[in-house]
């Protein structure tokens, strides 16, 4: 449990720094910006207390907000996703898997991919809708949602690929 907590803290710091220092500068094709920090919520152990998950989502989003100077926007979206993470896990994972473990590609394969894509999509829809906050230019917002989600998913899959290889070696 303690090592789990340490790992999560380390992941939190790395993701925040990566997001704030590198990924926020990316504007692929002028539309897509990956929001990789959602990976932290995806990697929360299954079976974690729902209060903790929601609170962690709030803290994560709020930390990003503090750096991005957008109070509340990221926090609202991330809290939302963190709260519903358990319901989405119930959709894709079998009941037997429900011990306390960290979801990963090497462990769950396709199920993890489905879970991950759903989370990312939910988060990006919430985030970009709150950010644009109007129905004007809805086509551009939708394009941003799709492109950003794709970019974030590719990044997460790449990271998962690396970590699974390490485990084999």
């Amino acid at each position: 449990m303690a090592s789990n907590f340490l790992k999560l803290s380390l992941l939190f710091v790395i993701l925040v720094l990566l997001q704030v220092l590198v990924l926020n500068q990316i504007s692929f094709l002028g539309y897509a910006t990956p929001f990789l920090y959602i990976y932290f919520i995806i990697k929360l152990p299954i079976g974690i207390n729902r209060y903790y998950a929601t609170l962690l989502g709030f803290i994560m989003g709020f930390t990003i907000d503090v750096f991005c100077n957008t109070p509340g926007v990221n926090a609202a979206a991330t809290t939302f996703v963190a709260f519903f993470a358990q319901s989405i896990q119930n959709l894709f994972f079998q009941r037997e898997d429900h011990d306390s473990f960290v979801p990963s590609l090497s462990l769950l394969n396709l199920d993890f991919a489905k879970y991950m894509v759903t989370m990312v999509l939910l988060h990006h829809v919430a985030l970009l809708l709150i950010e644009s906050f109007s129905y004007q230019n809805i086509d551009i917002v939708l394009l941003r949602i799709v492109l950003s989600s794709a970019l974030t998913c590719i990044l997460i899959l790449a990271i998962e690929g690396f970590s699974s290889k390490k485990k084999i070696v």
Binding site: L55, G72, T79, F80, I130
Partner: protein
């Protein structure tokens, strides 16, 4: 009560979630001016529309009182207009102070004013004339300047005991020395003979600055008029055949088609000045 507590505990995560989201949206509206502006604008729009609808409905109920107020106001104003008109007519008969002179009252002190009424007037000929009802019996002499409250009219050319003929600007023989207000470049104002609302300022140096709407005033170089009597305003410019000069089209300040009272200017020192200039010319010969 116990049920309520049980309900709260059971759905505690939901309340926690909603609580956190409320905090987030509080931050969103507090901290982000963009979202706040949209929120306020849309709410303002809705509120404004409701108010405007209720306002249009309510305004119909007030129409009757509004009408009565307007009528009362109207009659009050009409009374004032009549009083003013009466006052103006009394002033016109014995006034010495004339609008065009106000800016230059010191110079105009040299001039006596004879108030006359226009008896006959034309604007549609090439050489127009104006007949006024004051003549030599009232002290009118040829070569006196004539102005209206709005601006320059012309020069007295012929005098009988009780009448005199004025040669207005609207006469091809009339050449009036003038300048742009505030500068000292004299030009000559002539009338082309077509439109009684316009005259031309010819021989204006090309390098001099002018602007549309500048006021043209008399130069004071002739003894007929004091300096600074309004003639009109610049409308536009033409090129002359000589490249060094331009013509300025001047919209006349006086409406020659509707003249009633005019002021004949008697330059008390004009005679002296004319004699001096004549003697100088005689010496030249």
């Amino acid at each position: 009560m116990r049920n309520l507590i049980a309900f709260l505990i059971k759905n505690g995560a939901w309340f926690f979630f909603i609580f956190l989201e409320i905090i987030c949206f509080y931050f969103i509206f507090q901290g982000n001016s963009y979202q706040r502006s949209i929120y306020l604008n849309s709410s303002n729009e809705i509120v404004g529309r409701v108010y405007s609808i209720s306002g249009t409905v309510r305004s119909y109920f007030g129409l009757k009182t509004d009408n009565e107020e307007l009528l009362a106001q109207n009659s009050e104003l009409q009374k004032k207009v009549w009083a003013m008109e009466k006052y103006i007519t009394t002033l016109q008969s014995d006034s010495v102070k004339i609008n065009p002179f106000v800016a230059d009252s010191l110079r105009s002190y040299d001039y006596d004013v004879i108030v006359a009424h226009v008896e006959n007037n034309s604007v549609n000929k090439i050489d127009n004339t104006i007949t006024v009802n004051k003549g030599s019996n009232h002290g009118v002499k040829p070569e006196m300047g004539v102005v209206s409250p709005l601006g320059v009219i012309g020069i007295v050319v012929k005098v009988s005991p009780n009448y005199s003929i004025v040669q207005p600007i609207l006469n091809s023989k009339n050449k009036l020395s003038c300048k742009i207000k505030g500068t000292n470049n004299p030009g000559t104002l002539v009338w082309e003979g077509n439109d009684y609302r316009y005259a031309n300022l010819n021989g204006f140096p090309r390098h001099e600055k002018w602007q549309k709407g500048d006021t043209i005033v008399t130069s004071g170089f002739s003894s007929f008029f004091p300096e600074g009597v309004i003639i009109g305003k610049i409308e536009k410019a033409y090129k002359e055949s000589d490249d060094n000069f331009i013509s300025l089209r001047v919209r006349l300040a006086t409406d020659f088609s509707s003249l009633s009272n005019v002021f004949i200017l008697d330059n008390k020192k004009g005679q002296e000045r004319l004699e001096l200039e004549k003697s100088m010319n005689a010496n030249d010969r």
